[in-house]
Each structure stands twice: as structure tokens, then as C-alpha cells.
Symmetry: C2
């Protein structure tokens, strides 16, 4: 089904807000057989909204409209839509009663200004709003159907999931299967080279490569599940080592699940990442069962005092060295009584680099009772990127250790 | 000047990429007198691009076009633009020579396939690309001027800054002044109530309130600097306490600058924030001069062993308590030999709450040689939001302590 999107709001045009609704909608309609073919962003004034409606291309069967509804707006969008589709506004006593009760439950009297939210059109339909009070609208004419929703992401998403996506699924003739494989530890170009021969065997499967600093997401789509499965069978072995999860899974979630499964605990000794690894691990709900804690050892004194790093090691090899990384990982594992110690030390930049130890040089150490290893990386000139890439490498090293024992 | 925006690319419509270029452009054109009035996103095929060009509204004087240029595209955009503006393609020997030399400098032979990047139109202009090899295009007809740029953000931004924004500034008759004040520690509604009377005195000044979990950004704009200054004079005293910086400044940057100015050092003891405060402090370049380090004390054992929290305190008041927060802040200050100790302890959620200590309950402690205080907060049911809001509160408490001594 060819879908058009109209997003309404001055804040989108003047850049006060980035339009994240559009990308979300663009992704969500694909599995139910829809495709956004046209997208227009306009100001919330009558002239602009009218022009947008009048310029919907012929091939569009459905228009999704977000923004311009809700209590802080002066109903311009609703008014224009009523006019455009020839509808009359009626007062919805039942909904007004419901709203009044909602307010009463919070011991409040409903302001009269809320009466506009209880209006409904005499033709078309209202779309329930499970998470807010402004309802959506559904109209149609000879050319297209239109669903209008509020711009607040939570309200829009809830209407999409409950009403609009099922409607599209019902009306569209073809289905589409989409999966995202999230990978880390392999470059886009290498991944492409390895997957290209497999893709050639499965021309009905499409992949979008979406590289980020932390890895490459593969957005895999096809018209049918059996082509998809055949592709999966062949591709699995190639990406297995790098594929840590699917859409919505962060690397720390995957690692957390593995730590819980194996019953192992972890402690962190962070220098160049400054707490980012601890932050990511504690983003996982239930992390207190596997994360003992950590030391952010930004100064050398703390490396010696709290992590038991040898002063001799620091003097002879420097804070950014294989030897220091190893002693940090071992030190935090022992002092925090964890099974796995994980450490980072490096030159985050943008300053502080030398010829011998340039900005972007990073060591990640892992220490367990029977296995210890230090990895060396050379990342970028950029501080935050280096911190992010280091944390990703460290979490992935731990994930692979738990899977393979090395 | 009324500006239209055409962003080209299937990846924008299918949601594989969020369109961040549009918001950036929307913001940047305002100070030079431009306003995005219309924005269309289309697929990179001839039909869609042509339709977009044909539907540019009458009132638009300038069209900015991003995407669909560059080595990975098959020149559809350029071809359509040449046709639309009646231009012929010519081979640009001088640019080809430049490209050849660039490749030679990297000891490479330029592939023949790059020849298309050396084409230029016989009318209109090419826009230099300081950071890539695909140049932009500038055409005009009786209705509008058009600048076409690549979609790669770094290349687009560089062309905008060097060529397009100066051009708009030159052509537009009115100037616009925009400033963003970033605030934290005050709710949007309260801020609005306090600023509303001031705004009424300055009708030529406009404010957009942009609330986030970490604070409210105020985007203040006016047609002239003198109205702006008059507004600033009156508003300053009201927001002073909450206003930590302007566009592009994070709270940790503001705090870092204050720590450097006062020559004070800080250490952190984080429980519920799990390292996020350390992460944010170490995002500041030069943080090693003021940040000693921290302890991520996720388990009680570590609170006792590493931070010297009294076992009696934990047994009698619990880990999430005013008393524990205070001992954590004091403990880390002393053990890491810093002037300021900062601590967090709370129920991040989504599980682990009780009637007495619900999810979202957080204590932030600050300890110095002569001043100690614990703040109590009740945040949200959401883990990451709670971590973020706690880190923001802790950094702001430290900022205000450094400003006021309490």
C-alpha cells in the first residue's frame, strides 16, 4: 500500500524539534505491507495544511497525519479536516462524561475549555487515544483514506499500534517481513563482502547496511518468510560471531542476559571510559545480580591505591599500556570479589597524545581466575567517539569470552 | 526569506535514517533571515524528484535540496536538475585535474567512474565541497533559486556554512537574532509563569519552551538585537539560578569550567547512576585536571569496603537513605583526596520499589571539608530516565554549590 505522510508543526520546520515520528512510522508500516512514498512537513496554519491535502499524489491510497491535534492547539487541523472531507462537528456526550469522570478520579473539575476534545465528526470515525485525551480522526474520500493523530510520540505510537497498523495490515494485499540484525566488531565493508555472495543467491531478500560507531545494523527484508528463512540459514554462520541481538537490543542487554545465564559476576576498572561501561551495564534492569560495581580510576594515585596497580608498572610502561590494563582488570576483580574484571585505559583526546601514544590508543583488559587477555585498539581523534567505541569493544570482549571461554 | 526544503532518499521515507539534516537547516537559516516554510521528502527516482520541484509553492523564493548527490548515487538528482533548469553538462578539466592530484597524493590512480564528479552545468554554478568530492549545484528560474547538496551531514553543513548561509544573509532583507538559554532545576510551567509578564513587556521577542527530562531549553528569537537585549535585561534575574549555558553547552561543560576556575577537584560515589556522572564529567576535555575518579558502589559490600560507609548505617537506614548518601559522599571525598565528594543512591527501577521506598526515590549527597548536604528526589518509574535525572540533579547541585557556597 502506498502511504503518504503529512507532519504538521512549526517546530519541525524551524528545527526546534527533530522529526523522529516520521522514521518510526516509515519503519513500522513495512511489516504490515505499507510503504511511505511521499512525506510533507507543513506549518500548523490553514493555508499550509490545505495545500498539503491538495497536493497528495495520485498513487497514494492512505495519508497519515501527525501533529496539530491536542489541547494546546487551536483546532486548526481538525477544522481543516472537517471542511476538506465535508464533515460536521457533533458534541459527543458519552466521551464528555468519560473525560469528566477521569478528572473526578483525580479530584478535579474538568475545565470547559476541554469541551473541544469531546467533539466528533458526523461522518468518518474517531480513533481512541489510550494514553491521552485528544482522539484521532479517520476520514476518506474517492482518492485516499486519512488518519490524523497527535504529534506527541507516545500518543501517536499507541494509536498506530492499536488502530492504524492493524487497518493497513487488513487492507494491504502483500505482506513484508523485516528483521534487524545488530552486529558489532566487524566493519561494514567486510560484512558486505562476506554477505554479498549469499545475497546473490537470494535476490528476493534485501539488506540495508546501517553503520554506526558501535557496529553495523542489518535491516533485512523480503516479501515472504520462506525466502527470509532460506537466507537466514546461509547467512547465520557468517554473522554469528558479530550478531549480538535484534532490533531494540543493546549490547549490554545481550551481555547481561549471558551473565545471568552463566551466573557470573563482573566488576569494572575504567580509566578512559570514565564510567560509561558501568553506566551501560546498569542500564540493564536486574544488573545488580551480576554487576558488583567499579572504580573510575582517572588518576594514577587511584590506580595504585584502589586497584592495586604496581607503581613500577606505571613508571615503566605508563598508565596507557597493556601491563596497566591487565593489572587494573585483575585488581578490580579481586578487590570487588567478581568472577570477571574488565578494564579500560587509553588516550581519549582530543589532547594528550604523543607520537608513541597517539589520541585514540586504547587498551581493554579482561581478567578471570583462569584467563587473562589485553586487547589493543586505535580509534579516532574524537573524545566521545573513543569512549563509546571503547565501551562497545569491552562489552563485546566479555560477551565473546562468555560464549567461547576465550 | 521563505525557504523550501526537499530532502531526497528512500532511507528517509522507510525510516532507516532519521532526517537530522532538516532540523539543523531549519535552525541555521533563521539567524541569517530565512524561514523554512515547506518541506518535502521524496524517493530518489526521477518521477518523485520532478514532482517535488513542480509542487514548490508560489511563496517560496529559495529551495534547498539535500541527498541524491555523491559517488554512490547514479546521478538521478543531478540529471533531473539539469533538465528542470535547462542546463547542459560540461566536463570540468580543471576540477578533474584537481581530483586526479588528490588521488595521486594518496598514491592512487583515479578510477574513470569518478569522471561524473567533474561534470558541471553550462549555466548556474557549482558549490565547492570542502570536505568531500561531490560538488553542489546552484540554479535559478523565474520562481526560485535552488541549491543542491549531498545528504552526508558533514558535507551538507560545510556547504551551508561556506556558501548557502552567506548567500541567504546577503539576499534577505530582515535579520533575526536567536539565542538558546539552557536551564535545569525548574519546571517548564513554573518557568513560563515567571517569564510570561516579562514577555508581555516585549511583544517583539518570541520564546519557544523546549522541555526535556534534564531541563528546559528556551529558544529566544527577535527581529532585532536591541529588543533582545531589553528582554535579556529583565529576564536575566529570573532565570539566573537555572540558566547554566547556551546552545551547545552541556551541564557538565558548565560545571567543568567552574571547577577549573575555582581550582577545585571532585570525586564521585555512584550507586543508582552506575557511572553516568563519571561518564558525563569525563566527556569534558581536560577533566583529568578536576576529576579524581569515582567508585561505582552497586553492592553494599563495596559501599562499606571501598567507601567506608558504616555497616550500622546500612543496617538501620538502608542503602537508599539520606545517611548512606552522606557517608558515601564523605567517604569518596576522603579516600580519593578530592575537595568535593558527590554521591547518588536510589531505586532506579523498574523493580525493587517498596511502599516506603518507591521506584524513583533518590538521594544525592555532597560533601566538602566545611559543607555537607543531602537532597531527596522522587523521580519517575523509568530506569534510564531516573539515572539521567539523578545525574543532572547531582551535577547541578555541585554547580550551585560552587556558585553560592551552599
Amino acid at each position: 500500500m502506498n502511504i503518504g505522510l503529512i507532519t504538521i508543526g512549526a517546530e519541525l520546520l524551524n528545527g526546534a524539534r527533530t522529526d523522529t515520528n516520521a522514521a518510526w512510522i516509515g519503519q513500522e508500516v513495512i511489516p504490515v505491507g505499507g510503504n511511505i512514498k511521499w512525506h510533507m512537513t507543513v506549518n500548523d496554519d490553514s493555508h499550509s495544511i490545505e495545500s498539503a491535502l491538495n497536493s497528495v499524489p495520485k498513487e497514494i491510497e492512505l495519508v497519515l497525519c501527525t501533529g496539530g491535534l491536542g489541547p494546546t492547539h487551536d483546532d486548526i487541523t481538525a477544522t481543516i479536516l472537517y471542511q476538506y472531507f465535508g464533515a460536521e462537528a457533533e458534541f459527543d456526550e458519552a466521551y464528555w462524561k468519560l473525560l469528566t469522570e477521569k478528572f473526578a478520579a483525580r479530584e478535579r473539575v474538568i475545565p470547559e475549555s476541554n469541551r473541544n476534545q469531546a467533539m466528533k465528526p458526523n461522518i468518518g470515525e474517531v480513533i481512541p487515544n489510550p494514553v491521552g485525551s485528544a482522539r484521532g480522526l479517520h476520514f476518506s474520500n474517492d482518492h485516499f483514506h486519512l488518519f490524523a493523530m497527535p504529534g506527541v510520540p507516545a500518543e501517536m505510537k499507541s494509536m498506530m499500534k492499536n488502530t492504524v497498523l492493524p487497518w493497513i495490515n487488513d487492507k494491504s494485499d502483500k505482506e513484508s517481513v523485516v528483521t534487524t540484525w545488530r552486529t558489532t566488531g566487524i566493519m561494514e565493508s567486510v560484512l558486505f563482502e562476506r554477505l554479498d555472495p549469499v545475497l546473490k543467491n537470494h535476490p528476493e531478500v534485501h539488506i540495508a547496511f546501517l553503520p554506526k560507531f558501535t557496529g553495523v545494523d542489518l535491516r533485512i527484508s523480503s516479501d515472504n518468510q520462506s525466502s527470509m528463512d532460506a537466507f537466514f540459514d546461509e547467512a547465520k554462520a557468517i554473522v554469528e560471531k558479530y550478531h549480538f541481538g535484534d532490533e531494540g537490543t543493546e549490547l549490554e542487554d545481550a551481555l547481561g542476559a549471558l551473565l545471568i545465564k552463566t551466573g557470573k559476576t563482573i566488576a569494572t576498572a575504567e580509566s578512559c571510559t570514565g564510567g560509561l561501561i558501568g553506566d551501560r551495564l546498569t542500564n540493564v534492569s536486574g544488573s545488580s545480580s551480576f554487576y558488583k560495581g567499579g572504580v573510575i580510576a582517572y588518576s594514577n594515585t587511584i590506580k595504585v591505591k584502589t586497584l592495586n596497580v604496581n607503581q613500577f608498572t606505571l613508571d615503566n610502561h605508563g598508565a596507557v599500556s597493556e601491563e596497566t590494563a591487565l593489572e587494573m582488570a585483575r585488581g578490580v576483580r579481586i578487590s570487588m570479589d567478581a568472577e570477571i574484571g574488565l578494564s579500560t585505559t587509553g588516550i581519549a583526546g582530543p589532547t594528550g597524545g604523543t607520537d608513541e601514544k597517539p589520541v585514540g590508543l586504547v587498551y581493554v583488559g579482561i581478567s578471570t581466575d583462569g584467563y587473562e587477555k589485553v586487547y589493543r585498539f586505535k580509534f579516532t581523534p574524537h573524545r566521545k567517539t573513543n569512549k563509546l567505541m571503547t565501551s562497545q569493544a569491552a562489552l563485546n570482549i566479555t560477551r565473546i569470552y562468555l560464549l567461547n571461554g576465550s
